[in-house]
Symmetry: C2
Subunit: 114 residues, 2 copies
DNA sequence: GTTACTAGTTACAAAAAGGTTACCATGGTA
DNA sequence: TACCATGGTAACCTTTTTGTAACTAGTAAC
């Protein structure tokens, strides 16, 4: 959680920062986007789908799991596989997620128009 | 704009990344939040309000201005003052902004409950 | 025995983000 | 004259983030 200097802590502006603290960065929202929209995915599938390195993905998945935003399940397959899924709590982010998808698409369109 | 490896570029997951590319980071959404909700603010006011350093604020404001998300106005006061305002385009972010404020507040509440 | 697949981890390097301090020019005030 | 405030900028440094390459362990196919 972000530490706030002087102002009241439940100020709207700092709430924005708190959200970014949990799901900011280059990859977390994209991982959630995939798991929420496509459903359960394996580690290796995410690597290929996203073009992310295993090291970074592993770290991001751990952090998301600690914040209860995804769940991890190890499967008894020949080479063991691990499945990641969105949790109920991660679904509380759908408004943020959808708004960002919408805005990103629109912004890219605007830029291409130039 | 983020460069995408192999997948189709208008994929929802990459749209999320595109949004983060423009308004991600520790400060940009907070600046927009303040300008959208409080209205026009001067440079020095933002520094005090946010607890951000002048160097970083200056950089962030420049980047937001380049993306047409804020406008800058130099005023003919005794020591010149500079006013920053949200633009019409920045208001297209209100959905993202409001969703993030709402989620951040709720998340902090959950954490305190533990 | 060798190769391959799985999901990671480790060590290392590079880049990006964020921060501190000192400084500038302007003009008003004590 | 010296000091204060304004909105910056430049040099420098630290921390965080991201990436690459090599390696692990278990099992199965060749």
């Amino acid at each position: 959680m972000v530490k706030h200097a002087k102002t009241e802590c439940d100020d709207a502006h700092f709430a924005v920062q708190d959200t970014l603290y949990v799901v900011g960065g280059k990859w977390k929202m994209m991982i959630l986007s995939i798991l929420v929209r496509f459903g359960t995915k394996r580690f290796g599938e995410l690597v290929k789908l996203m073009g992310i390195s295993a090291r970074i993905l592993s770290k991001e998945l751990n952090e998301l799991e600690q914040n209860k935003l995804i769940s991890r399940k190890v499967c008894n397959t020949k080479p063991i596989t691990v499945e990641y899924s969105a949790t109920a709590y991660s679904k509380s982010l759908h408004e943020v997620l959808n708004a960002m998808i919408k805005w990103g698409r629109n912004h890219k369109k605007k830029i291409r128009e130039k």
